[in-house]
Symmetry: D2
Subunit: 141 residues, 4 copies
Amino acid sequence: MYEFHARRRIEFSDTDMAGVVHFARFFIFMETAEHQMLTGLGVRPGSYRDASGRSFAWPRVTATCDYLAPARYGDELDIRVTVERLGRSSLTYGFDLSCGPVRVAQGRITAVCCALEEGGVMTPVPLPEALVERLGQPLVG
Amino acid sequence: MYEFHARRRIEFSDTDMAGVVHFARFFIFMETAEHQMLTGLGVRPGSYRDASGRSFAWPRVTATCDYLAPARYGDELDIRVTVERLGRSSLTYGFDLSCGPVRVAQGRITAVCCALEEGGVMTPVPLPEALVERLGQPLVG
Amino acid sequence: MYEFHARRRIEFSDTDMAGVVHFARFFIFMETAEHQMLTGLGVRPGSYRDASGRSFAWPRVTATCDYLAPARYGDELDIRVTVERLGRSSLTYGFDLSCGPVRVAQGRITAVCCALEEGGVMTPVPLPEALVERLGQPLVG
Amino acid sequence: MYEFHARRRIEFSDTDMAGVVHFARFFIFMETAEHQMLTGLGVRPGSYRDASGRSFAWPRVTATCDYLAPARYGDELDIRVTVERLGRSSLTYGFDLSCGPVRVAQGRITAVCCALEEGGVMTPVPLPEALVERLGQPLVG
């Protein structure tokens, strides 16, 4: 199974008045690690217009996070990304976030590769072939 | 089942370059609706110190969101909050987010009532009795 | 001078580990109040495509904030917006943010009305005439 | 004059629907670069409790940013931090943010070293001596 590792230092603005990282920030940490993985695989993440003028985006269909221990300002997170499921248009990522030996969170995000039409309509399109080849995992469903 | 409704207008800073609300913002929308519900029930949400000097917080143990349709700048969201499960120290909220007749997302968050000790250690404590009474639902587990 | 008032409740996610509102959030508070003002004047704020298919945005050229007192979770802010200067393409807003009798911050933002061309190039265009009429202030420069 | 350089990759969640980095994010970029500088100088930034149990924080008294060119998703920012003014309790930082040869923004932030008392009251205290020595600049005012 393809696996990618990212690192990230917790910033002051990631925290809230309880003195720990705000729970919604973990979704940003996961998304950015996913984007670093895709970039490393030669795929454009985010939202973009290709050479032919078509626009694409990767909207999420589901996102979940289990919080196991608090993360704090200054901590360095290790983020392990795996591809749990490869569909025709969709990717399900698994995330493990640790701070040293302590696992702080685990999450899962399913994103869909979409064409972004005029008026903002999003239509699923097949995953980029190059990505499927690079991941080397069987497509499911 | 106790039910609460909140409304919220999408702001420019909620959006990303795909032209729609960034997926992580939905967790903020859910949290704020939860806090409005708790405040209305006479319970202090967030993180606070009580009259006796003890500090409390409501850390999340799990948060999930399914995205059904994009939400856009200027949209007004209706957020319906229900209490899906009432534990000894924990609450599981369900959220339905709609924009007019369109359901844009549904989510679930489990939060735990904790005492916040010196050094930032968080220890689960029983839910405030007044809250349990107000909700009028059986405790589970 | 045209004057607009907005109100906003501080959310948990606006805070940081120092126990107060994070300083960067005040810029979001100011921007949203500005947008509410423009919407009330019949002008489309944010970034949009008009009926003829042209896209527009209001990028900022400068933003500043002086912090006078901390704002805290649950506080309700009164935000007074004035138009300090009306240029051919630009607007300079002044902001006073108070919490009850306490002034917590004052800021200033200059935004420029721009056409958003292919490739993301932004070109200043004259302010909407209807806006200039509604504000009833002399153009400067 | 003391000078520090930081680098930062623009993330998807830094953008807004105009397709560029949201203006308020630049204040986060500046703050994080400041914190990296302070950490490198052996000073604890953010908000913390020292060995004797006293709490400290660095609230901002003013923050400003001039926007010179848009920054976009995937850009790598070079952030140059200088200390423009060293007061008894306060530091004024200057920031230059560039993307390759293009200057995208310049900013200034004044922060005050404060003791954080019970009840959240913040009282200015002299800057840490070690910091003043390391910066090697004359104190003003």
